[in-house]
């Protein structure tokens, strides 16, 4: 691969006038990319609106998708060339959980950006259990322990306690499970026979597409949900719910969405893949540039009906560094949406491994796997090699700073210290099995779920 790049670079310098030095020899120039109406699709919208795709010679159509399943199927069938994806989707598709198809990611889209919201009614029941600050406002982060007595009441009355997340392998599923488990609640297990994920659950989690979350909660089908922005802030604006925690408060700078393409596409179109990655890196840089100076402009873009389409003021809340919990309780959240700083776009193996550990924790991976398996899957799916090639080209063209990229990373982030995570359990991607065993609720090494029971 390195040689191809070298030849390409020399070829283009010989041939071209300076303006075209950076256009690669593209295998495919017309691309259709899918996205879900969420603020973290911003790099796609920015790359399109600011002409970064065109600069690379790419002619992109962005298409909103109805839900994560439709989006994944679109990428696998080739109707979409690539898409804004849940980090769990390429991993699950590659190991064959749900749909099987090798998908890779050369680009992580962002850090943080999600929240958990409960309905007004549940919040009223939870609030007495939440410690207050001196000024009378609730003290954050709020633990699911405050929710536990409410769930207990429901169980005593024999009523199910339903909450929503967006997809079985979504960040949101793992986040709400993490939060519930950290507060002592059982979110339920998956097994090969029962893919509802509700085996032994105190809180019954089910799938609802992101934009329908507020409406579904308002209708009373679910009492709360985990979702990306703007659908938590929307609940506050419409007065139908209260976000209780952001994912930043659960785990500082946790990895979020990725940009996914099929392995086949990347192999058949290596230069197109590079060009796409370049455009997306530039968009991410723009989003975080000069201390988020461009965020207001990004909000205006996202509020157009063809992108997220929600009201600009709702989107602005989280995008510009604030988060509103109860109505009027606006708190600063400068890192709520991170698109580039802290190496947000670099596809770290340790991020992939965290998702895999959660799949194992809840039984989506039904048996214990050796540590090496986790490393291998991560290296199959996350492709820092492509990322760094693209970054190198941008640096050479003067469109990015050398210092902004982790050139020598081995793909593992510094282990998350206990203080950065809500239940105080540190995470180190180098020891996945040890990490799984250190989590109090969830499957441990050697355990399996059969006939609706945890064995072993």
């Amino acid at each position: 691969m390195k040689t191809t790049i070298a030849t390409l670079l020399t070829a283009s310098t010989i041939l071209a006038s300076p303006a075209f030095a950076d256009i690669l020899d593209l295998e495919k120039e017309d691309l259709t990319l899918g996205f879900i109406k969420l603020t973290d699709m911003a790099p796609l919208a920015v790359a399109y609106e600011l002409g970064y795709f065109e600069d690379e010679g790419l002619f992109v159509t962005l298409e909103a998708q109805a839900n994560w399943k439709v989006l994944l199927d679109g990428v696998i069938s080739g109707e979409l060339d690539g898409a804004h994806m849940l980090a769990g989707q390429p991993l699950a598709a590659t190991i064959g959980y749900g749909t099987e198809a090798p998908i890779i990611t050369p680009f992580s889209m962002d850090l943080n950006g999600n929240g958990i919201t409960v309905s007004n009614d549940i919040w009223a029941q939870m609030k007495p259990n939440v410690p207050l600050m001196e000024d009378g406002r609730p003290q954050h982060p709020i633990s699911a322990a405050a929710l536990a007595p409410v769930v207990e009441d429901y169980k005593d009355r024999g009523e199910p306690f339903n909450m929503g997340m967006v997809f079985p392998v979504s960040t949101h599923n793992y986040e709400i499970r993490y939060w519930l488990a950290a507060g002592g609640l059982e979110p339920g297990y998956y097994s090969p026979q029962d893919i509802s994920g509700q085996i032994g659950a105190d809180v019954l989690l089910s799938v609802t597409p992101p934009p329908q979350m507020p409406a579904t909660m308002e209708a009373g089908t679910i009492f709360g949900y985990a979702v990306g922005e703007p659908w938590n802030q929307q609940a506050v604006f419409k007065g139908i719910g209260v976000p209780v925690i952001t994912d930043y408060d659960m785990w500082k700078n946790n990895p979020e969405k990725v940009f996914g393409i099929t392995k086949e596409f990347a192999e058949e179109n290596p230069n197109t893949t590079l060009a796409l990655t370049k455009a997306l890196i530039r968009a991410a840089i723009w989003l975080d540039e000069n201390d988020n100076a461009n965020r207001e402009e990004a909000v205006q873009m996202l509020s157009r009906p063809e992108y997220v389409g929600a009201d600009a003021e709702v989107i602005a809340n989280s995008m510009t560094g604030f988060f509103e919990f109860e109505k009027g309780d606006v708190r600063p959240a400068p890192d709520f949406n991170v698109f580039f700083r802290y190496n947000a776009t670099y596809p770290f193996y340790s991020d992939a491994i965290w998702y895999l550990t959660q799949m194992r924790r809840w039984g989506q991976i039904d048996e214990t796997k050796p540590d090496q398996w986790y490393f291998d899957v991560a290296a199959d799916v996350y492709r820092p090699d492509i990322y760094l090639q693209a970054a190198r080209m941008l640096v050479d063209d003067g469109m990015a700073n050398e210092a902004d990229f982790p050139w020598d990373s081995d793909g593992f982030k510094v282990a998350t210290p206990a203080a950065d995570i809500i239940d105080g359990i540190p995470y180190d991607g180098r020891t996945p099995n040890a990490y799984i065993d250190s989590l109090p609720i969830g499957l441990k090494s050697g355990q399996t779920v059969t006939n609706g029971r945890v064995d072993g």
């Binding site: 075209f20 120039e29 002619f59 909103a64 109805a66 934009p211 419409k238 009906p305 009201d311």
Partner: protein, 357 residues
């Protein structure tokens, strides 16, 4: 006996001619849903205004009054319903969104022009730097405007409807002419007719994706999926009505055809088709109506381009304008449905000479 003033005669003749013309036009006004024009023209032409006033009131006044009552009721009741997207919009807000959709369209056109200017410049630069092989002519990839969505839906419905008619009319004729064919077709019709369009959609989607594998064919997959779903649902009214029309031909005519020893082809073209035409057209009109309703539902569910997708996208946007924009789409869908029906009615009036108009 007084001599008739030639002047009067002339005026009288002109007057009669004018009325004849108005009466002739009336047939077309009826087709176009403009029947209220006739009494106005008659009154203008000097007919007894008192008699025409009654007609005008009935054909124009009452509908207008009903519409205004509807608007007033809507305007007063809507703000009282609070939803998670704000109050239900009244007529004023909906009308504002019509303007805003048009503004969106103009903005998108501007972006399109800018895109082509950039492309031209890029290509000119490429040629200047002697790299002609890199010159590309691209079609603009922006989002479809509201008008584009309307156009897509109309094309899709006509395509699906056309296939349905091509299949249904011959089958209907066969079923009407031959008791055996009828016996064969009848159970299938009975079973498939009541199937909801949305049940067909997953099947059609799977089959189209499996069979139509090329990604750059003449039609896009989504277009085919929508169109075929429309076909499957709009097949039945045409089929049933054609069969009915063909089987109820005057028995004397059939006897005549026997006497004349007509072959099947002549019999069908000279005899069966002309007499079954009114019912075939009734079937086609019903089919197109069904097809239009089905199409919107299919587009919503499958996210295929068109007005249905527009509605679903807006619902997902959840902005404070979303509900009003959805209502614009609802009225557009209704109006287009009405126009489609009128088009079919006009065709029917042109092709058939029966009193079934």
């Amino acid at each position: 006996m007084t001599a008739i003033d030639p002047q009067t005669l002339d005026t009288e003749a002109r007057r009669t001619r004018r009325f004849a013309r108005i009466n002739k036009a009336d047939a077309w006004f009826k087709v176009l849903g403009l029947a209220w024009l006739t009494p106005i023209l008659k009154a203008a032409a000097g007919d007894n205004p008192r008699a025409q006033a009654g007609e005008i009131w009935r054909l124009l006044g009452v509908p207008l009054l009903a519409i205004s009552l509807f608007l007033v009721a809507w305007g007063t009741l809507a703000p009282k319903v609070q939803t998670s997207l704000g109050a239900v919009p009244g007529p004023v807000q909906v009308w504002e969104q019509v303007g805003s959709l048009h503004a969106d369209y103009l903005r998108e056109k501007g972006r399109e022009t800018a895109f082509y200017e950039r492309q031209e410049k890029r290509n000119a630069d490429l040629i200047a730097s002697r790299r002609e092989d890199r010159v590309r002519e691209r079609v603009y990839t922006g989002k479809p405007t509201y008008y584009d969505q309307i156009w897509t839906s109309i094309l899709t419905v006509f395509f699906g409807f056309l296939i349905a008619s091509i299949v249904a009319i011959p089958l209907g004729i066969a079923a009407g002419l031959s008791a055996t064919a009828n016996a064969a077709l009848n159970p299938l019709i009975q079973i498939f007719k009541p199937v909801s369009p949305l049940a067909w959609l997953p099947i059609v989607t799977m089959i189209v994706s499996a069979v139509y594998t090329t990604n750059d064919g003449m039609f896009s997959k989504s277009f085919l999926v929508s169109a075929i779903t429309v076909t499957l649902c709009s097949l039945w009214p045409t089929l049933i009505n054609t069969a009915l029309g063909v089987s109820s031909i005057d028995k004397d005519l059939v006897s005549v055809s026997r006497v004349l020893k007509m072959n099947t082809y002549t019999k069908i073209t000279k005899l069966v088709l002309p007499s079954a035409l009114p019912l075939i057209f009734t079937g086609l009109r019903l089919s197109l109506g069904v097809g239009w309703m089905v199409l919107i539902a299919a587009e919503m569910l499958a996210q295929n381009p068109g007005l249905g997708k527009f509605v679903w996208d807006e619902f997902q946007n959840g902005s404070s304008q979303s509900l009003a924009r959805i209502m614009v789409a609802v009225f557009t869908i209704g109006l287009i449905g009405f126009l489609l029906d009128r088009v079919m009615y006009a065709l029917q009036s042109m092709f058939t000479f029966s009193n079934n108009r």
